[in-house]
């Protein structure tokens, strides 16, 4: 399975701009746009330039989808192209914006993204929206690979998109002691998560010896079935092992981990414990880096944002540092976190972690084409 194209849009710009900023250690944080309620207790976001407005998630998605299909050279007249969209918050920000007015102004079929994708990619087949929280596009990658391998589609356009909702910002503001200043993945003094906006799209195709950006080996899936919001190392471990088994790979084959790394009290210890149990105990000694200190938590797009960065690591041989990380947390002892400066890419596979609300885990393994 190959990744024929990848398009990303973050607060830092497109994929190349985002990767350049990551290598330089820059972040795209900005004060929350005007218009959000007072007393939200969230002051910053990692926001796409310009006003968001109604249907922002659909617009960002449509732009990425159109460009990814063009870059992949897929002609929907000859290819059965299906589409899976991963999202955490759907178009709920648009519903919220009209909540004081006419709710019927948001038709039900615009809560999901079939209209947006069909307009951007004429001829596309089924478009299915998967709302799997912060690992949605990781789940979409797994289901896309299943579709192609089973022969149910010739190629799959996998997308992620999310705009910020007031309700999710409120929940983030509600649970922090002090408003979070910035996202600090794997930092001893991390103070919680902030949201990032944007979208991403990739096209996955069968391996027919064509040029590609990377090889999609496998995505492992699991659900903690443990707690509504707190992650469980046991569930994460199952997803990591599922990915390795499906890829036919050993832990020692993993050279780099693009971590989930949300900068929250609970994610980082759980993710570190799982990485130690599966990879380090399995003989691996990977580099570990995270992007959320630079682009925020992009929710349903997070896994594809990590994937775009992973493909650029494979193309350039450089691994960006973990923006926002100063002093690693104790649980990261033994993990080679990339800090302050870019590091050379070790040989081997790249592992992409994505964990979501409700304990839904997706772990993806990619390699050089």
């Amino acid at each position: 399975m190959l990744i024929a194209s990848s398009v990303l849009r973050t607060c830092l710009g497109d994929g190349p701009q985002t990767f350049a900023a990551l290598l330089a250690g820059r972040d795209g944080r900005s004060p929350l746009r005007p218009g959000y309620p007072q007393q939200l207790r969230v002051a910053y976001g990692y926001q796409v330039d310009g006003p968001a407005g109604p249907y922002a998630a659909s617009r960002w998605l449509a732009d990425c989808a159109r460009r990814a299909v063009a870059a992949a050279g897929v002609d929907t007249r000859n290819v059965r192209l299906a589409c899976l969209v991963g999202t955490g918050l759907r178009e709920l920000s648009t519903v919220e914006a009209t909540a004081g007015e006419d709710l019927a102004g948001v038709p039900a079929h615009r809560l999901h993204f079939a209209d947006a994708v069909r307009a951007a990619v004429p001829g596309v087949g089924d478009v299915v929206t998967i709302a799997n929280a912060c690992s949605a596009s990781g789940h979409a990658l797994a289901l896309a690979q299943d579709m192609v391998e089973l022969g149910d589609a010739d190629a799959v356009l996998v997308c992620g998109t999310d705009a910020m909702t007031t309700s999710m910002l409120a929940m983030i503001g509600r649970v922090v002691d002090e408003p979070t200043e910035r996202v600090r993945p794997f930092d001893r003094d991390r103070h919680g998560v902030l949201l990032g906006e944007g979208a991403a799209a990739v096209v996955v195709v069968p391996d027919h010896g064509r040029p590609a950006l990377g090889r999609l080996l496998a995505t492992g899936l699991s659900c903690d079935a443990h707690h509504e919001t707190a992650p469980s190392p046991e569930g994460i471990v199952r997803a990591m092992r599922d990915a390795l088994t499906r890829a036919g790979a050993r832990p020692a084959d993993v050279g780099l981990v693009l971590a989930h790394g949300t900068g929250t009290a609970l994610n980082e210890p759980a993710e570190c414990a799982a990485l130690c149990e599966v990879l380090l105990a399995g003989g691996a000694d990977p580099l570990v880096t995270g992007v959320k200190g630079a682009v925020g938590h992009m929710s349903g797009t997070a896994a594809l944002a990590n994937l775009d960065v992973a493909l650029r690591c494979l193309a350039t041989g450089s691994v960006p540092p973990t923006v926002g990380l100063r002093v690693p947390l104790a649980e990261a002892a033994g993990l080679r976190l990339v800090r302050e400066e870019p590091a050379p890419l070790p040989p081997g596979l790249v592992q992409i972690d994505a964990f979501g609300f409700g304990g839904v885990n997706a772990v993806t393994l990619v390699g050089a084409p």
Binding site: L40, L111, S167, R174, S222, C223, D224, D242
Partner: protein, 300 residues
Amino acid sequence: MTVVLVHGPGSGAPARVVGWAVHLPDADPRPADVPSVLAGLIGSACPPEQAGSVLGRKGLLYKEPATRLALLAVHAALAASPPPGAATPTYDPVAPPARAPGPVQPDTAVVACGNFGNVETVVTVARAVRAGGVREVSPLAAPNASSNVLASTIALWFGLAGPNVMVCSGALAGLDGLDIAVRLLRTGRAGRVVLAGAEPGDEVARALHAGPGDRPLRAGGACVVLERAVAPTPVPGPADLVLGADGFDPGVIWGDTYGAQGVVSLALASGAVAAGRAGRVEVSCGDEHDGYRTARVWAS
């Protein structure tokens, strides 16, 4: 015993239906024009606010009506279906095992379908924050800000730790979910899949639904439990019962459960086939915006 098979609209192989349940509160079980093959398949169903009478009260605080309806449907379907390799159901509806700490079932996946489950909470929270700031909001409502709360709550409640997928593709969600469920079985990601659908009937959901007048939104849930088909089986000839816009439309008779409608009809079809009242059923869901999809359920 009749083996019930199902073939999704876009998945290239059938799966076996081993359990099913429909949960439509306040539905007339015997409306005048319902086909006799469906008689008795709609039973009495408690409303979401009385879910505790079936599920036990603990853990239901702050659970959305749609989440409760899904839990009720899954509860009934699991209580009627033995897990792989067992002759009788091991899920005890009187003492549901997953409520107590215990081993999870990594081989059972959950695919949940629906669109409006959390919209009322999202709108209420947004309004409250605008009026008075985040202190007006209970952190216990936090999981409901995320659109996958329905799927993840099923996993947590019943200890189902396989892949967990929330499908929110409008009116097609139920049969889109069927395709995903069948693929999870075919790729070996799961040995059993709980496919559930649920929608609420609150004011916010009804305003967003705003469909044609003959299909008002109604609250309801349904579940089918799927396993791998033992051997490849071709889809049989013409259907003798059609559930959907081209035949008997449960969404018109009992009200539209929108993203759950595909699962509601799959469960009804499975019940009719298992009872020997229908041999080959065509099931469709969809609307004028999202289009239509069709699945087949038959006896083997």
